[in-house]
């Protein structure tokens, strides 16, 4: 054997060994754990601060130097963590390639009787004394009924039976390992060809670009408009119940239709996709702007409804009367204290309310109108319902393009299937030698000792049953 071949062989067996896998489990675990303790992807100051909880300032600075040298502040994307994952993948590939051929061969191989010697070496053995004339027939029948496929040989020690069940389930382990590789491949594709970012779109406006996670503005081929944003809250609480954005996509001057509709509703857990980009509702916030407007419904005596929209402090006429009105104050979350005074509780629109000033020929009155409380809509000039302050909230959308995701899903499905088979369907082989004074059962693998015991017990019970 040449030197190169020897080296090749060494490298191969290094990557084919399960010892490496077991070592990598430990190393990867420890590295991942470090990453949850040391602050990740923050400015240096946060890390120095973190260390100064335990060490003196000077040591903390030193610690920071080590951290930045080894990328410990960005472990999961560091060169050495990537390298470990690469080793992990290589280990899986080589290990599988190393073992798969002999496994496949073992499925096809013609079976032959084993020597007594090698049977005796097997870790599990059980002797049963059953004597009856038709023992071979009975035993074969029982084994077949239990789903075993059997081979029978005449040997000098007696009749040898080889019974196998679910041997092909061994392939499930390879499926499991393959699925892990598929997931890693999906993740790799995502890192190289994917994009992640966010868009904060003010209600009533649209954006042509997204901000990537690295902070760059990335132009999009289309415009994302948010026509309306709404948040619902649990009663008397600032816990949001649901929030949603009404989105339109404008591409090349055309409004795109989704299932025949121009407007798509995006909610938490209900993303939508366009041109490979997926949009997720993730956050929102209060942000009054120039185009914000207060929207009212006015009902005259006959119950006829008039829609009114007005900017802050802009006066508007009350239809059918000589009065005008204007909004002079706004609370997104109006609350009332013990003394009956109103105050604002929150910047979220939990209980939006407007203070409207009415003016009828110089006679001024003021009144709070609360969107959620109908009694407050009644004014001296008729029923004025406050609907909403439109254009004063932004919707936070996460945007992502990840061509690796289909692979991830495929990998996950295969992983589930592979694991369930590998851990719940145990391949089992049973050898039996029928002698004059009884049967001896052997099992070559101690992995399945309990399955073996159970099977043998049942077989014996049945054998005894048949005899009676």
């Amino acid at each position: 054997m040449s030197k190169i071949d020897k080296w090749n062989e060494k490298i191969w067996s290094f990557f084919a060994s399960v010892d490496l896998a077991v070592a990598l489990f430990i190393i990867l675990s420890i590295s991942a754990a470090i990453g949850t303790v040391i602050p990740q992807q923050t400015e240096p100051e946060a890390i120095v601060k973190f260390f100064s909880k335990f060490f003196s300032p000077v040591t903390s600075m030193k610690a920071y130097e080590i951290v930045s040298l080894l990328d410990l502040n960005n472990i999961y994307h560091s060169w050495w963590f990537t390298f470990l994952l690469f080793m992990f993948a290589l280990n899986l590939i080589v290990c599988s390639l190393d073992r798969l051929p002999s496994l496949l061969k073992s499925f096809k191989a013609p079976s032959y009787p084993l020597e007594l010697e090698s049977l005796e070496k097997m870790p599990i053995k059980k002797k049963v004394e059953v004597i009856s004339g038709k023992i071979l027939d009975n035993l074969s029948k029982i084994l077949k009924n239990k789903g075993f496929s059997i081979n029978i040989f005449e040997t000098k020690e007696g009749i040898q039976i080889q019974a196998k069940k679910w041997t092909k389930a061994k392939l499930a382990i390879y499926l499991t390992h393959l699925s892990i590789l598929i997931i890693l491949a999906g993740a790799l594709i995502g890192t190289f060809f994917g994009f992640r970012g966010y868009m904060n779109i003010l209600e009533g406006t649209g954006l042509h670009f997204a901000i990537s996670d690295t902070g760059k503005a990335v132009p999009l081929e289309f415009e994302v408009r948010c026509d309306k944003f709404e948040a619902e809250y649990y009663e008397n609480s600032s816990i949001p119940k649901a929030y949603r954005s009404y989105i339109r996509i404008i591409d090349n001057g055309q409004v795109i239709k989704f299932n025949g509709k121009e407007t798509v509703v995006v909610e938490v857990n209900q993303p939508f996709s366009y041109k490979g980009f997926t949009f997720y509702q993730t956050s929102y916030g209060f942000q009054p702007s120039e185009h914000s407007e207060f929207r009212f419904s006015y009902f005259d005596k006959t119950g006829k409804e008039y829609k009114i929209a007005a900017k802050f402090e802009e006066s508007f006429p009350i239809p059918g009367t000589s009065a005008t009105a204007s909004v002079i104050d706004f609370f997104p979350a109006l609350g009332i204290d013990e003394k009956g005074r109103v105050f604002n509780m929150d910047t979220n629109m939990i209980n939006p309310a407007v203070l409207v000033s009415f003016d009828e020929k110089g006679k001024k009155t003021e009144q709070w109108i609360i969107a959620k409380i109908p009694e407050t809509w009644e004014t001296p000039y008729g029923k004025l319902k406050f609907n909403e302050l439109w254009g004063a909230q932004f919707t936070g959308l996460q945007i992502r393009k990840d061509p690796g995701v289909p692979l991830i899903y495929i990998g996950c499905i295969l992983l589930c299937i592979g694991l369930l088979i590998a851990l719940f369907l145990k391949p089992i082989t049973i050898f039996a030698i029928i002698k004059k004074d009884g049967i001896i059962f052997y099992c070559p693998s101690s992995k399945v000792s309990s399955v073996f015991e159970k099977n043998i017990d049942e077989i014996i019970n049945k054998l005894k049953g048949e005899k009676i």
Binding site: V18, R196, V268, N269, C416
Partner: protein, 352 residues
């Protein structure tokens, strides 16, 4: 209220423990029957409490899927205890062995007791939108079933190590007795915490002992902890003798340790990792983000993968693998509770 019903279940678990002990000592079948009945009754009341809570949540959420009570720390602990007891009862029924009952009943009882004293919010809380997902529901349910399976492996693994340890200087012996001593101390401490707390809603663990504001008590507590560990270490062989004389056979323990992991591992992979990733993908637009909770789940996964590989490919046998099972569950506990208490993340069990 549902939590009062669940407290009754917890009480029954604690009552079941001494009965199990008496059974193990006397091997009297009637006593054994009484022990199993008490535990089963506890489980039934527990399930009833679970449904009661479901109803309370349904009154708020008006949706069946959204009302399954596993959405905060309290509910998840209660569900964990329920899985543990039900899982054990299945094992008892299948293997006809009651030896683990002592440990399961006390752990389930303590878990529920802890929720009673730790000042964890027991009120039914409304759901924030991110939690309104069927994926999340299955994710959490399966995760806790897996945790319970790992919990059973932990108990059997630990017993196995204690029983099989020959010398006091061996790593395994020191490891298991230290752990046991610490657990014992924690239990005593929690009892003291309850007794001395002014307000049962604000009990803090170790407040009356290690973390006491009086330095004197604190030091005494540390010494007690050390002494306790020493005593367990010194007299651990008696424990191991007792266990041996109770005829808890170590093959049974090793087998259950493996069964727990072999059952828990795929459930955890599917429920914990895969469904968690799918949920995160749909809710946040990323299937994996190295959030501390995710990272620690991955570590948990690695530890149990280590167990399976070491056991089956490297051919490790006996207590060596049991140590991995014990470490695995400590990591699991950290994933479940520690991450929220010590590290921050997206998941919602954080706030007590």
């Amino acid at each position: 209220m549902s939590y009062q019903i669940i407290s009754i279940a917890g009480l029954l678990y604690i009552v079941a423990m001494p009965i199990y002990i008496v059974y193990l000592l006397t091997k009297n079948n009637k006593v054994g029957y009484a022990a199993t009945s008490t535990l089963t009754l506890g489980a039934l009341i527990h399930i009833y409490g679970f449904f009661q809570r479901f109803k309370e949540m349904y009154a708020i959420n008006h949706s069946i899927m959204r009302s399954i009570p596993i959405t905060n720390l309290y509910e998840s602990l209660v569900f964990f205890a329920l899985c543990l007891v039900v899982g054990y009862l299945l094992i008892e029924w299948k293997y006809r062995k009651k030896s683990l009952g002592v440990f399961i009943s006390i752990i389930a009882g303590i878990t529920i007791g802890l929720t009673d004293v730790l000042g964890i919010t027991k009120e039914v809380q409304p759901l924030v939108p991110a939690l309104k997902s069927n994926w999340l529901l299955v994710h959490v349910t399966l995760s806790f079933i897996a945790y319970a399976a790992f919990g059973i492996s932990f108990i059997t693994g630990l017993l196995h190590i204690i029983m099989d340890s020959q010398t006091k200087k061996s790593f395994k012996y020191i490891f298991s007795t230290t752990l046991l001593g610490f657990m014992l101390f924690m239990f005593i401490s929690v009892v003291l915490d309850i007794i001395t707390a002014d307000d049962p809603k604000t009990v803090k663990i170790f407040h009356s002992t290690l973390g006491n504001s009086s330095i004197f008590i604190s030091i005494i507590s540390w010494i007690t902890l050390g002494a306790l560990i020493f005593i367990v270490w010194r007299f651990g062989h008696i424990l191991s003798k007792i266990l041996n004389s109770l005829k808890i056979d170590s093959n049974f323990l090793e087998n259950i340790t493996y069964k727990g992991i072999a059952f828990g591992f795929p459930i955890f992979t599917i429920g914990g990792l895969v469904f968690g990733a799918i949920w995160a993908d749909q809710a946040w637009g990323r299937y994996w983000g190295w959030d501390p909770k995710e990272t620690w789940s991955l570590i948990t996964w690695f530890v149990y993968a280590f167990y399976l590989h070491a056991k089956f490919i490297r051919g490790w046998r006996g207590t060596k693998t049991s140590v991995i099972a014990v470490v695995g569950f400590i990591v699991t506990l950290f994933t479940y509770l520690g991450v929220n208490l010590f590290l921050s993340g997206l998941h919602s069990y954080g706030s007590m």
